[in-house]
Structures are given as C-alpha cells and as structure tokens.
C-alpha cells in the first residue's frame, strides 16, 4: 500500500517536460549548433573563427562599428535617461505623467520607424531639418549628415534611452524614502543627499541599464540597415543579413562567426547584469510609505520643464510628425503644405494593394500565434516557478531569459541552419519558423508580467481551494486564471506588438508566401516609395497607441507600454 502511494504521477512534470523539450529542440539545439559550427569546420576543431573576425577587413570594420556605436549610444543613453528619470519620477516638474508616457511610447515603436524619420529630417541633401537650419542661419552646407557614425549613434540613442529610462525610473521610485530622509535629518542638503545616498544606491541599476542599452543597440538591425547601409557603414547585424542573402558557404561561416561573437557578447552582459549586478541591487521596497519624496525644484521648475519639453519635441514629436507628413507628401523635395503636394494616395495604397494586405495578414497570423502559444507557456512556467517546488522549474525560466537576451540575428541564423531539413525537421519557408523565432525572442515580456502578477496573489487563496479538494488544474482554472487575467491580457499584447512589426528575424526567415509587415515596410522604404513606407509606419504607430489605450483600459491602468 505504502509503496503505491509514494509513486503517483505528478502531472506538473508533463508540462515541464513538454516545454523544456520544445525549448531544447527549437532554441538550445540551434544556438549550440551555431556555436559548434563556428568552431568546427568539417568535423575539425579550429580557431579559424577568431582569425576570421580580425583577419578580414570587412568583418573587423563591422565589429568595430558595432562596438563604437553601441558604446556611444550606451553612454549618451544613460546620460539622457538618468536626469530624465529623476526629473520625471522624483521632482515637481510640470506635466510629469505626459512626459512619462511620451518617453515610454518610443519603447513600443519599431526602431526602423525612427530611422526613417531621422533620415527624412537629417538627410544631407534634402533633410527637412537641415534645410531649415540652412535657411535660418544662411549656411551653405547642411549642418548634419545622418549617413555617418554620429548619425547612427544619434538615432540609436534616441531609440534606446527609454530602456534605461524604464529601469532607472523604477529604481528611483521604489527606493525607500526614509533612506533619503535620514540623510536630510543628519544635516545633509538635498543636493548632497542626491550624491551621497540616492546615486550610490542607484549604481547597480545605472550599470544594469547601461548594459541593457549597449546590448539593444549592438543587436539592432533596423536602424543600421536603413541609416548605415547607404553610408557604407556596416555593423555586425547588417553584415550577417548580407551574408545570409548571398548564401555562399564561406559567407555563411562568416555570418556564423559574427553571430556567435554578438551572441556571446550579449549573453555575457546579460549574465553580468542579472547575476553580478543583480545581487548588489540595493533597491528595496519598504512596507510603509511607497510615495517617493518629491523634490521641489523651486525657481528651476519652469526652466527645467521647458528643457525636458524641448527634448521631447526634438526626439519624439518632430520625428513622428515627419513620418506622418511624409506619408501625405507627393514630392518629397517640397513641403507637404505647398499647393498640390498633399495626397491621400499612399494611405489608400496601404489598404488596397494586395501584397501589403497579404503581408499584414501574415503578420497578424504569426504574431497572434506567437503571443497565444507564448502566453500558454508563460502562464504554466510562471506558475510552476512561483508556486511549486517541482525540481527543474527554474530551467525554462532560465532558457526564456537567455532566448530573449540572444540577438535576433543569431536566433534567425541558428533556425535557418538547423530547421531546414538537415536534422529531420524542415519548417524553413513556413510561418512556423517565424512563430518559433518570435516566441524565443519575445516570450520573456509575457513571462515577466505573469510572474509579477503571481507574486502579488497570496498563495493562501489557492491553498484554500486545495483544502477544499480542488486538484492542480482545477485550481488554476477556478482561482488563478480569474485573478491574473488582466496581466495575461497585458502580457499577450506585450508579445503581440513587437512580433507584429518585427523586421530583423522576419527579414532572414521569410519566403514569398510568408512576407511580413516589417519586411514590406522595409522594402518600400529602401527600394520603392518612402511615402508608402511612411504611411505604413504611421498605421503601425496608430495601432500601437490604440492597443496601448485598450490595454490600459482592460488592466485598469496597471499595464500600459
């Protein structure tokens, strides 16, 4: 009798095995293969991989460009985000919530839209802003040239500082205010408190946010491909995609080496910021007063508000307006307000042209699938992680974190090399390969949302159901799901949105039948009609905003972008 009782089957295992199996086949194996392929040529171990990077000028220059651009973007991004996070989160600046939403909005906009906008504004020959400055100051040459490393850094910075802003705002607002109050009562002035207590406490968060910006900028494909390519400035990501398009054996080896380099760089940084800095994270939430101290800016209140406002106008408002203006312009050399230069035809095009419609349809199908399958995995995993002691429950969480930290180009390349029949699975040229790529890259967002929701629901609610006799699945259905539905909805959208306009992986994985919206837009921008691309980008922007409003309503303000 006793032996029998000990040996009942735990259904939780089935889920873990299924999910871990999925991740092993479609994530771990392809990425490992990529690494092995970089070091073993024809079954022989070789360090050619290293040689390939620095012996080839093409490769070396793209590595250097990437490191320089990402480092500079990191420095500028943090320099911008730190004061902004402080002013918006901790002072009595005017219009704080408006500024916050504006800065966070950039986070949800596809990076290539920013690149398009700045291209239009700072093109050395016809850039709107350049022309304006030339007219105003009577310059004979355009003051700015977007097709340059500084141009690339500028656009990367304006797109990735929100990553740092989010991390830093959260850290600043979660700090126990009495830590600062006790410095004040000890005789320290507000400024001195900022430097001796607030900033030292923030150091781990500052470091983590800097690394986050670095990895995001280094892994970005959309911006360098639109801005760098015309200037012949190549980065690791654009180089990899070029090699994949060329498709020669040598090219693929080069692509693999570069992808492995980028992936290792990203994962090492992920490790540092999660495990080394994360341990030193001082930020603690105290039970008593959650309201952060608001610093009175005094006579600086208005000047600083104007400064932050100017920043928002230059970095967010003007680029977005320029995208919309472009979408209504017939002749791009002239202003949209000139007679006969205004048209709606590009907007008609994006709703009528069959290729655009089918690409949009593809994107909807793939991102709905990725978000739905992704959320199912996230919910089960988050539950096992937070609520059970099943051995191995941390493995999927770890794998999902690694997947999300892996640069998109590496994921796509790894899938191309392993999922096209060589190892028994051939899903190349189908929508499935795209769905799987999206899931690996973006599932973490959903996972985080659900985990944080679960941490806020007291385990005793569920224990009460268990005592009443409900089994595990039954408890999920009766207690857990109703309580976490808003977070699940939010998580779904957080996966859906980036998949919907995804460019990098789609660009490497698509076939004629599985073209996605991101690719369609990219091709119009690069080859056919910038106005049509702008109209598409405008449509995506509107959709992002609308989805956000819906998400805010559904979750009662708990989640937006």
């Amino acid at each position: 009798m006793e032996k029998k009782r000990k040996f009942y089957f735990d259904i939780k295992w089935l889920f873990i095995i299924a999910i871990v199996g999925f991740l092993l086949v479609f994530q771990v194996f392809p990425l490992l293969y990529l690494v092995i392929r970089a070091f073993f040529v024809d079954g022989q171990f070789t360090t050619d991989a290293f040689t390939r990077i620095y012996s080839s000028d093409i490769n070396l220059s793209c590595v250097l460009n990437t490191l320089v651009a990402a480092s500079l973007s990191m420095v500028f991004g943090v320099l911008i985000a730190l004061p902004l996070a402080f002013l918006v989160g901790r002072t009595n600046l005017y219009g704080r919530s408006l500024f916050r939403s504006l800065f966070l909005m950039t986070y949800m906009v596809p990076p290539y839209v920013g690149a398009m906008a700045w291209l239009r504004l700072l093109n050395p020959k016809v850039g709107t802003l350049n022309m304006l400055l030339m007219n105003v100051f009577g310059l004979s040459d355009a003051p700015f040239n977007i097709y340059s490393i500084p141009g690339l850094v500028w656009v990367l910075t304006t797109f990735y500082y929100p990553y740092a802003f989010i991390t830093l705002s959260r850290a600043m607002e979660n700090m126990d205010p009495s830590l600062e109050e006790s410095a004040r009562i000890s005789g320290s002035s507000p400024l001195k408190t900022l430097f001796t207590v607030t900033l030292p406490l923030m150091l781990p968060s500052i470091a983590a946010s800097a690394l986050l910006v670095f990895v995001a900028a280094a892994s970005c494909y959309g911006i360098p491909s639109i801005i760098g390519a015309p200037a012949k400035i190549y980065t690791i990501t654009t180089r990899i995609v070029d090699y994949v398009y060329i498709g020669s054996a040598d090219g693929l080896t080069d692509a693999t080496v570069l992808a492995v380099f980028l992936m290792v760089l990203a994962l090492v940084i992920l490790f540092i910021s999660n495990f080394v800095i994360g341990r030193r994270d001082y930020i603690m939430i105290s039970g008593k007063s959650v309201r952060p101290n608001i610093v009175d800016l005094g006579k600086w209140r208005l000047p600083l508000t104007i400064l932050v406002g100017l920043f928002a106008v230059v970095v967010i408002v003007i680029p977005f307006i320029s995208v919309f203006a472009t979408s209504f312009t017939v002749n791009m050399g002239k202003s949209v307000f000139e007679d006969g230069n205004f048209t709606l035809k590009y907007w008609e095009t994006i709703f009528s042209r069959s290729s655009i419609r089918s690409s949009t349809g593809n994107s909807i199908i793939t991102s709905v699938c990725a978000a739905s399958f992704g959320m199912i995995i996230c919910i089960i995993m988050a539950y096992l992680l937070k609520r059970t002691n099943v051995p191995g429950r941390k493995i999927p969480d770890f794998l999902i974190t690694v997947g999300s930290g892996t640069p998109s180009v590496a994921i796509a390349l790894a899938l191309i090399m392993t999922m096209s029949g060589r190892f028994g699975i051939n899903i190349y040229n189908t929508i499935w390969i795209m769905i799987i790529a999206y899931m690996i890259k973006y599932m973490l967002m959903g996972m985080r949302t659900v985990v944080s929701a679960l941490s806020q629901v007291s385990p005793s609610l569920e224990e009460a159901a268990q005592v009443s006799g409900a089994g595990w699945l039954r408890r999920l259905k009766d207690v857990m799901f109703p309580l976490i539905t808003p977070s699940v909805v939010a998580g779904w959208f957080l996966i859906f949105m980036p998949c919907f306009y995804e460019l990098t992986m789609s660009n490497m994985l698509y076939s004629d039948k599985t073209k996605s919206l991101g690719i369609e837009l990219y091709q119009y921008q690069t080859y056919h009609s910038q106005q049509t691309a702008a109209a598409l980008a405008g449509g995506i922007l509107i959709l992002v905003v609308v989805l956000n409003v819906i998400m805010n309503k559904v979750t009662k303000g708990k989640f937006s972008i």
Partner: protein, 355 residues
C-alpha cells in the same frame, strides 16, 4: 535647553484634515509620546517637527526659533534633530561605521573626533564589534540600533522616533524600550516618540498625547491617562475596558437591561456610559453590587480571564487564578465594582478604534 512649541498647527491634504489645531509645548528633557491608532495624524505631526511636511497653518518653534510658519521654513537638515525611522533606513551601501559617522561627516567634524564619537555611541547601543559590518549582515534589532546610534551621534537637541520598535519581535521590543529610556536619561535629551502601542507609551513617557482622527483627545502623565481618561476613546485605547450603559438618577445608576444599581457620587444625570477596567471587578460570594452569568473563562496561569454577561453587555473580568473552575457556565456570579468611570453617552464612533 530644547523646547519644541507647536502653535495652532493644522495639517490638511486637500479637504482631509490630518491634524487639527494642535497647540502645546514639549519641554526640555521630556519624553513625549504621541499615541493613537494608525492614520490618526501622529506620524504627520512628527514629520512636521522634523521638517518633512509643512503645516497647512500654524507655527512650529524649536527653542523659540521659528522653524515652520506661514513665511518661514527651515529644511530638515538645518534643524539639528535626530530621527529613527520605522524602517530604520540604514543605508545598505555603507557599513555600520559609515552609517553612524554620516551626520558628523556632513558637519565636517575632524576625522579623529568622528572616530572617537562613533566608537562611543556604538558602545552605547552595544554594537562596537559590528562597526565594519554591512547592514545586510545585521539582524533587524541590530539595524534598529544602528539607526539609533546614527540619530544620537551628533548629540541632537531632540530625538524623534517614528514607531521604532514596531518591526521587532516582542522580546527585543521590551528590551529596547528600557534601553531607549536609559539612554534618554543618561544623555538628557528630549524625545518625541510615535507609537500605537499603549504599553510602550505607558512605560517610557513623561507625558502621553492621545490622538484620534487628527484631534488631540487627552494629554497627561501615563497615570492620568490611565486612571482618569477624558472620554470613552481614551479609556478604550489605553488599557482594557468594559462598557455598560445605564441611567443616573439620585446618586444611583441603574444598569440597562437588569434591575440592579450602582452607587454614584458624580454629577451626571440621565443616560450615561460606564467604563470599568477588568482589574477593578472582583468576583464575590456575597455583598455583590451586580450579578451576572458566566459565559466563558480562560486559565492564563496567573489569572482567570472570564467573560460574564451582565444585562445587555458582556464584561471581561480578570479574576484570581484560584477562581478558575469553581463556576460552571450559566452559574450566577456576584460582582463587586471597585472603581468605575462615568461618561456622558457617546456616539459609537468615539468608542470605535480605527486601526
């Protein structure tokens, strides 16, 4: 010399009155306790004295110098106070020594002197051997003493304590109570202490201010507050109390619901509330003032904690331990009331404690 004067201090958040028109003077070397349920305004009052909040109207003076008024505001760092927070607020990025030395460093005290003073104060709070530790390696009680040392190191005129013991376990709490009191007497500083724990207030204070919903209910020594509470709220909040309803007429109070009376020499007539502390009721065989029925009893070792129904009310009586087991439920029990307080009838919300 350090006297804190609050002159008609009122604090409002929008339309909500957090503290209404408080006027008093906290004297030199006094141990003042602000006592009340959470949300009563006591912490807000402390934070106004510290300078973290500005009074909506009224004036605050420290030693006659105005620190807060309609047109003056001295920021916290210029007030020369010490403060211990409920969450301790020990900086996690500095070790114990640096945490405690911070107020002295701000004051640009020479290094050697800082070392001496910090060592001395760490000794006072029994933390000398932990000077090099990081706060994360300390227990809650030790962190609390780091916070106390940091508040004391610059020899402030006044020490503000915001529920400093509420996060400690019961034993440590009792022990720290006496340590704080002892430190206060030794250093001869004024202390303003915020708590919702009446036994902390009783044991340590020279004067207790009982506050409810932003309104001062009563101030006085612990014995005054306990023995002659001004109203039902104070009686109920400080110590245990039973309430009975009755009608006072011609030197007697008739208890509602039963046909028995108590002698009364006060001058209230008509409907009254009677408040009796459990220790002032005795169980007797004969010559009883009142009779009731035993509802339940609990043996606590040193006493017999009984519930006895009298008319419409159930009285809690702390009887001698030897009484336990002598009566069965529904037995009639004779009671003698040794001492009682009589109040004019109050609306329910005066008796209701909001926590």
């Amino acid at each position: 010399m350090s006297v804190i004067t609050l002159d008609h201090v009122t604090k409002k958040y929008g339309d909500t009155v957090v503290l209404s028109d408080f006027t008093d003077e906290f004297g030199d070397g006094e141990f003042i306790t602000l006592l009340g349920p959470s949300g009563c305004g006591k912490t807000t009052m402390l934070r106004m004295i510290a300078g973290f909040e500005k009074p909506t109207t009224g004036e605050i003076r420290i030693d006659g110098v105005t620190v807060s008024s309609a047109d003056t505001f001295v920021p916290p760092e210029k007030r020369g106070l010490g403060m211990v927070f409920q969450s301790y607020a020990v900086w996690p990025h500095m070790n114990v020594f640096n945490n405690v030395a911070y107020p002295l460093k701000i004051r640009k005290v020479p290094k050697e002197e800082i070392r001496e003073k910090v060592e001395k104060v760490l000794e006072t709070v029994h933390l000398s051997q932990y000077a090099k530790r990081m706060p994360s390696a300390l227990s809650g009680g030790q962190q609390q003493r780091v916070a106390l040392a940091r508040a004391l190191v610059a020899e402030p005129k006044v020490l503000l304590l915001d529920e400093p013991l509420s996060n400690l376990d019961a034993k440590l709490r009792e022990c720290m109570r006496f340590e704080i009191k002892e430190i206060q007497e030794r250093l001869h500083i004024s202390i303003i202490y915020v708590t919702h724990d009446q036994s902390e207030a009783m044991t340590m204070s020279d004067r207790v201010f009982v506050i409810n919903s932003g309104v001062l209910q009563q101030s006085g020594t612990p014995t005054e507050i306990y023995r002659s509470p001004k109203n039902q709220f104070v009686a109920d909040f400080v110590g245990k109390v039973n309430f009975l309803k009755g009608i006072s007429e011609g030197g007697k109070i008739k208890i509602s619901g039963i046909d028995e009376t108590l002698d009364y020499s006060g001058d209230l007539t008509g409907e009254v509330d009677i408040a009796v502390r459990p220790e002032n009721i005795r169980i007797v065989r004969e010559n009883a003032h009142l009779h009731g029925k035993l509802v339940s009893e609990f043996f606590t070792g040193d006493s017999d904690d009984c519930r006895i129904s009298v008319g419409e009310s159930v009285l809690r009586v702390i009887a001698d331990a030897s009484v336990y087991g002598k009566y069965s439920p529904d037995d009639t029990i004779g009671l003698v009331i040794n001492d009682m307080l009589v109040f004019p009838p109050a609306s329910d919300d005066l008796r209701k404690i909001m926590t």
